[in-house]
């Protein structure tokens, strides 16, 4: 009897641990064991729209990193710091970033477009600033331009 109880308790503890592991690995997808080395890139925009911390950074739709902080710089332009997975460390400094929207009203993310490579370009490294940025498309501005655009011209 006592042996059976011990066995059941052992199974119970194992089931609990298995549930926690499932929540951690399958549900939250925390990258245990995966390559989590990152380097930081900085970009300044004039308007970041609905971009949030932890928004994804994508190259051609593939997630290569995440936004880690959004702050306002001294010249009042929003400064976005991104953590890029160090598996993707070959972006030239002619690359450009744009704030894009998935779907018409979906989440906003940063689209990184790798630039050309010639003798003068360098590879972006930790802490580098991306010069070529395109800001978020704000739906209200677009509607405003559509409504009042003709009369202003």
């Amino acid at each position: 009897m006592s042996k059976k109880i011990e066995l059941m308790v052992g199974f119970f503890l194992l089931a609990g641990i298995a549930a926690i592991l499932m929540l951690g690995l399958k549900v939250a997808n925390s990258q245990l064991g995966g390559n989590t080395d990152t380097y930081q890139l900085i970009a300044k925009f004039s308007n970041i729209g609905g971009l949030k911390v932890r928004s994804s950074v994508k190259v051609g739709g593939v997630v290569v990193g995440r936004v880690v902080s959004i702050s306002l710089d001294d010249d009042f332009s929003p400064k976005v710091v991104m953590n890029i997975n160090s598996d993707f460390n070959k972006f030239p400094d002619s690359s450009s970033v744009a704030i894009l929207t998935s779907g018409l009203l979906g989440e906003q993310f940063i689209g990184l477009t790798p630039g050309f490579v010639d003798e003068e370009t360098e590879i972006l490294a930790n802490g580098d600033l991306l010069e070529d940025t395109r800001s978020a498309m704000v739906l209200e501005d677009l509607i405003g331009q559509f409504l009042y655009g003709n009369s202003e011209d």
Partner: protein, 260 residues
């Protein structure tokens, strides 16, 4: 008349405070290391069986059904916006943040808490606790401590099992029956659920609930009037007070964790 009702109020609040004090002394007495020879581990395993393993079935079944209902309700609403892909996010976040810790704590209070109260209350009524003291065994160490630790260990595990089974139930209804894409179900879930923000906070909630529910149940039993009526009152008030404490604390914890 007015004087006597004020006196009644004072008497009530004094007895509440005295009860809190006795509860605190009981917990401290149970948790401070025993001077001699009560071996905790065999007693703890027995109680883990009674408190944890025997609550497993009700937790698994209700987790499965709650996940299925969440999925079905969420689908009928989300499909109106063409957003049924977000079903996984909705099911997993509501289970991990709220329903998992809260519902499993409520079930635990009904299933295990009431049993603990009745058991200890009957031990007191049949003077088993006094007999232990006569044999120089501290009932706080022999009876209360293993049950307390069993509750505190069991409930967070049960809550994790509840959430996991609920998500599987949600997957069953959403993906297998209603036709949400399986890849979207998991990937939207994975991109929105955070280990620290959601899972760890949910676990902290259920650890706090575990301490509160087990403490209330043990105290009510230990403090019960040793008659059959007293035990029945103690059992009822265990369930009522645990449930109220869970729901009230849940609001406070939610404000602290997710409020900002």
């Amino acid at each position: 008349m007015a004087i006597s009702s004020i006196q009644q109020m004072g008497r009530n609040s004094l007895s509440v405070i005295a009860g809190l004090g006795r509860a605190a002394f009981m917990l401290v007495g149970a948790l401070k290391p025993s001077g001699r020879g009560v071996k905790l581990l065999p007693l703890l395993i027995k109680q883990l069986y009674v408190v944890g393993v025997q609550s497993l079935i009700i937790i698994v079944v209700s987790g499965l059904f709650i996940g299925m209902v969440l999925s079905l309700q969420g689908y009928t609403i989300l499909v109106g916006y063409g957003a049924e892909q977000s079903l996984g996010q909705m099911v997993s976040l509501s289970l991990l943040r709220e329903l998992g810790p809260v519902v499993s704590a409520l079930l635990f209070a009904g299933r295990a808490g009431s049993a603990l109260t009745a058991e200890i209350g009957l031990m007191k009524a049949t003077e088993q606790l006094s007999s232990l003291e006569m044999m120089a065994i501290d009932p706080l160490h022999q009876i209360v401590a293993p049950r307390f630790w069993a509750g505190v260990i069991s409930l967070p595990l049960l809550a994790a099992i509840f959430s996991a089974v609920g998500i599987i139930g949600g997957h069953l209804v959403g993906v297998d029956w209603l036709g949400v894409d399986s890849g979207a179900f998991w990937s939207v879930m994975q991109s929105s659920v955070e280990w620290q923000e959601d899972i760890v906070n949910g676990a902290i909630k259920s650890i706090i609930f575990a301490i509160v529910v087990t403490w209330i149940a043990l105290h009510k039993g230990y403090d019960a009037v040793p008659t059959s009526e007293g035990i029945s009152k103690a059992t009822t008030s265990t369930v009522v007070q645990s449930s109220l404490a869970i729901l009230g604390l849940d609001f406070v914890l939610t404000v602290v964790m997710f409020g900002s």
